[in-house]
Amino acid sequence: MITELTHGVPRRALVLLALLLVALLVAPGLVGDYMVSILVILLFQAYLGMSWNLMMGFAGQFSLGHALFIGLGAYTGGVLFVEYAISPWIGMAIGAVVAAAAGAVIGTLGFRFGVKGVYFALLTIAFAEFTRILFDHWEFVGSSSGLYLPVANRDSSDLWNLRGSATMFYYVALGMSVACFLLSHVLLRRRVGYYWQAIREDQDAAETLGIDTFRYRMAAVMLSAALTAVGGTFYAFYYNNLYPETIFSMHRSIELMLGPIIGGIGTLFGPVLGAAVLTALGETLTHMAEGSRLDGVKQIAYGVCLLLIVGLRPHGLWPWLRRLLGLEAKS
């Protein structure tokens, strides 16, 4: 098991990853509460980025509507907990199944009807927006006035019901991110990973070689949807309130994919690096913008940074940083 995970990974990369993991494990003991809450957001973004990257980065299927899966996971977990007192861990699993089913619907329709590239991305947006308005009018889930979870007691931690301190959420997010990272790593080295990359590079060629491209694209969409939904349940229990307007919005889908694009699409560590860069950037800009009393300064600076990154490192930051650190895998 361990040998399969480490086989072919440069020793230096293993050492650095181990150091990073240790640093993340001890971090809550060393930094203040505010910093922990920032790190929770960072890990959460990294997790979502990796889930999206699985579909876009590995299998080449462009989704602009991942907010749909976050929302489905969040609402499934939230409603089951509020209405039926079902543990979020079970809600997570059910939410993942619901989201995978939604992914299957979009995938089946999109792939069977030959909707590709930008058109497929628009199809995913359309489904997300359609669902947003649907939830806005659905009384059972609180319609547009929102769904509220009973506010967590921050002093005692109840892991089974995900009610507790920011530190508890931190370790949950860390566990999810590590699991998603390992899963991506393992899948990339299995047959399915090679099939995905073949499809990403040239779908017709992959088809000619006998790969069942429909089946493997479906697998990518459904797995990515399920993982994203798990993140959605986490979101619901961390923030305790859900509004269709915010959780299904296109801004959320965009936010989710910025990390992997900036870090490096299709790379393992890119989404993590991208999430770190974006969180650091967002925090710095918030502090700088506090002085000026103008709305939107932060967002403008954010936009300028996007232009700089895309202009200077169009393939993302990680492939460049990886070279600097001498972590190129030897093949």
Binding site: L109, A126, E129, I133, I261, Q299, I300, V310
Partner: protein
């Protein structure tokens, strides 16, 4: 529900739809020639509406009189944007182009937010409360004027692509880029002109729409999505299709607003988008790629 009411709603929807169509024309022209999906389209629309607002209130003009100035400024903006920024990314992958235009979009929308704040702004016209009546049909004077000018702008755009040398050269680029280069067309200049023409459409549409709806910075995402729905519906790259798509969306918004609930109107549009993507991805008037 009376027949008169529905008739009036339908007419108003059709007229507003023509202005939507003009906005989407710009998106369609830019995609048709350069294969760039302009994710900043709605943000440009917001900028154009504020431009029309500033010129109208500052110089005491009506939005109609402000239209040529706004269109001109937007043309120059689009021309420069394409020439110095987007042109360098034409060969880049879709998600890189997406990120680029997202950066542009954030700067535009938040720039508007900084300058004008989050409150809605509108223009009061003398003609706002006047209307034409034809039997049971009552049409707002302003809406008729906006739709008429949108139609006129679209017609002049069509004439530009059909009859002028530059317009023909642009169509040649769209059909066969390599061929266009071989016969000596300056494609960088033509692309910049196309982008400028596309944003000028937005400038015109923004000026006209300001007479019908209030403007605030957060409209941008709605406009971008609206633009996508319309051009996919009509067929990406087809100019007539964009106008037809605009009218269909205007009509469906108006009808679902009155028959179901106003807040459901965009759900109807997205449903329509899903249906068209699946059944007729080339759009109503588009050609199979």
């Amino acid at each position: 529900m009376s027949f008169e009411l529905i008739l009036n709603i339908v007419a108003a929807g059709l007229l507003t739809g023509l202005v939507y169509g003009l906005m989407a024309l710009g998106l369609s022209a830019i995609f048709g020639v350069m294969r760039v999906v302009n994710f900043a389209h709605g943000d440009m629309m917001v900028v154009a509406m504020y431009g029309a607002y500033v010129i109208s209130t500052g110089a005491g003009l009506t939005p109609v009189q402000a239209l040529p100035f706004v269109a001109l400024v937007m043309f120059v903006f689009g021309f420069l944007l394409q020439r110095f920024l987007i042109n360098r990314f034409l060969q880049a992958t879709e998600h890189v182009q997406f990120l680029l235009l997202l950066g542009v979009a954030m700067i535009l929308t938040n720039g508007s937010l900084m300058l004008f704040g989050p409150d809605a702004r509108n223009i009061q016209l003398d003609a706002s409360f006047e209307s034409y009546s034809f039997g049971p049909l009552l049409l707002d004077k302003v809406r008729v004027m906006a739709a008429g000018l949108a139609g006129l702008s679209a017609a002049s755009l069509w004439a530009f692509f059909r009859y002028t040398t530059t317009g023909k050269a642009i169509r040649a680029c769209a059909d066969n880029q390599l061929g266009a280069q071989v016969v000596g067309l300056n494609i960088n200049r033509l692309y910049a002109i196309t982008f400028g023409v596309g944003t000028a459409c937005v400038g015109a549409a923004g000026s006209l729409l300001l007479m019908l709806v209030d403007v605030h910075p957060h409209l941008s995402t709605d406009f971008t999505l609206l633009g996508f729905i319309i051009v996919i519906l009509g067929g990406l790259g087809s100019l007539g299709g964009a106008l037809l798509g605009g009218v269909v969306v205007g009509l469906s918004e108006a009808l679902s607003g009155i028959l179901l609930a106003p807040s459901l109107k965009s759900m109807f549009s997205f449903g329509l988008l899903i249906l068209v993507l699946l059944v007729r991805p080339q759009g109503l008037l588009g050609k199979r790629a």
